[in-house]
């Protein structure tokens, strides 16, 4: 999979009630990221909580899930 690069948070939530596959991950932040090419991608935010409009950078794929981190 290609590196999606950086983007902006279009919307986000923090999940407290997980599906079976992620019972050990809660709470986790999920977001729709608007990438620089205009496409949107659903991924996770690692570290500090990001808000709508915040810039985020791609970190890595874990089990095919893109993880981002709030740009400092």
């Amino acid at each position: 999979m290609n590196n999606p690069g950086s983007g902006t948070v279009y919307t986000e939530t923090v999940v407290y009630s997980p599906p079976e596959a992620y019972v050990n991950d809660v709470p986790y932040q999920l977001a729709i990221i608007e990438l620089e090419n205009g496409r949107r991608l659903t991924g996770r935010i690692d570290g500090d909580r990001a808000q709508i409009g915040d810039k985020v950078n791609f970190v890595d794929f874990r089990n095919n899930v893109p993880f981002f981190r709030k740009a400092s």
């Binding site: 279009y10 919307t11 986000e12 939530t13 923090v14 999940v15 407290y16 009630s17 997980p18 599906p19 079976e20 596959a21 992620y22 019972v23 991950d25 986790y28 999920l30 977001a31 729709i32 949107r40 991608l41 659903t42 991924g43 996770r44 709508i52 089990n63 095919n64 899930v65 893109p66």
Partner: protein, 386 residues
């Protein structure tokens, strides 16, 4: 196209019923609707069953003939429709289409779901199957999470507040408390609604509909034959179904559910009415924010005004346009495959003047809006006194 009417309605209570199986719930609702229509099983020419996830929740496939036979209905076409939480709305749409086209005169449409036999994380996972499993769901999206992201964006773009969403929950619980078939007959306060356990921020447990068991059923017939079954037929004035992308991240503007707008516009046109004419509605409040979106996308108010509309009490039982007089999915319960037909029963009950403590006076023209997933299927139905 010839006119069609709802000539019989029947529902089970919605709730958690550990000793009831899927078929017994569907059969109970189906038989009640047949009795209400004074119809015999042999008069039914086709059976349309709405069910989202019977195979996942209870391991049973081939559900339509299985349920039909339980009602003594054998030999006719019996088919299951799956469209996530709009499964029985989709079944109803196809059933009305078939009768309107002249293929059948009298058909039975039943919706059912048996959900409470699975633990919450498993239920959450099965429901997430209505999303994009290779994208958003793999990343950790649940349905509360998808609607939480819609809520966040709606708050950001239009200034919608937690209080506005809580007002929907308080109102629906108040209505549900008056509905003998509701899952949760409990009034809640604004303070409670605002301090619920977080599920997916900003949604708390009080913003989320219930995981329920239940079934609902209607008998529909061509209007010319309606008088054989009932002296209070309810006309299907308009019905439309529309679709959209399944994944939330593939929708242009997540604060508008495009399929709801499209299906509503077509249903209004078919019925020859405008949104302002609709006196009351049952809308798909799977989450409180979804009811706010519905009042906007159905054209009751402008985009962004759904929150203030709810907070001002306009959608209460005594308001200018009551919404979810049944208690909605929030309090009545949400056995997902039963919800669409359940809403048709609730609107018909108001039109027939049989809603008891919840009966409203302006009850001649009502609308039902049933949503699948985060908006990939929408069915809008407009019902009126015949």
């Amino acid at each position: 196209m010839r006119p069609v009417a709802v000539v019989g309605i029947g529902k089970t209570a919605f709730g958690a019923f550990p000793d009831r199986d899927l078929r017994s719930l569907a059969v109970e609702a189906g038989q009640k609707s047949l009795e209400d229509a004074h119809a015999k099983p042999e008069q039914i020419e086709a059976f349309f069953l709405g069910n989202f996830a019977g195979p996942s929740f209870v391991g049973q496939n081939h559900l339509a003939p299985y349920v039909a036979a339980g009602m003594g209905i054998i030999g006719i076409p019996a088919t299951r429709f799956e469209a996530a939480c709009a499964s029985s709305g989709a079944a109803f749409f196809s059933a009305v289409s078939a009768v309107a086209a002249g293929l059948y005169d009298v058909v039975l449409v039943t919706g059912v779901e048996k959900m409470t036999s699975q633990p919450t994380p498993k239920v959450t996972e099965i429901l997430a199957g209505a999303g994009d499993v290779c994208g958003e769901v793999r990343a950790g999206a649940t349905f509360p999470a998808l609607f939480a992201m819609i809520a966040r964006r709606h708050m950001y773009q239009y200034g919608t507040t937690r209080e506005m969403m809580a007002a929907v929950a308080v109102k629906n619980h108040s209505n549900g408390a008056k509905n003998p078939l509701a899952h949760m007959r409990k009034v809640i306060t604004m303070e409670q609604a605002l301090s619920g356990k977080p599920i997916a921020d900003p949604l708390t447990v009080y913003d989320c509909s219930l995981v329920s068991d239940g079934a609902a059923s209607v008998v529909i017939a061509s209007l010319e034959r309606a008088s054989e079954f009932t002296n209070k037929p309810v006309r299907v004035l308009g019905v439309s179904q529309a679709s959209d992308n399944v994944a939330l991240d593939e929708k242009d503007d997540i604060t508008t559910l495009r399929a709801v707008k499209t299906s509503a516009e077509k249903a209004y046109k078919m019925a020859g009415v405008s949104p302002a004419d609709i006196q009351f509605a049952e809308v798909h409040d799977c989450f409180t924010i979804a009811e706010i979106l519905a009042t906007e996308d159905l054209g009751f108010v402008k985009k962004g005004e759904g929150g203030p509309y709810a907070l001002a009490g306009k959608t209460c039982l005594q308001g200018e346009r009551p919404v979810n007089t049944s208690g909605g999915l929030k309090a009545k319960g949400h056995p997902v495959g039963a919800t669409g037909v359940g809403q048709i029963c609730d609107v018909a009950q108001q039109i027939r003047g049989e809603a008891g403590e919840r009966q409203i006076a302006r009850n001649k023209l009502g609308l039902a809006q049933n949503l699948g997933g985060s908006g990939a299927t929408s069915v809008v139905t407009i019902l009126g006194a015949a």
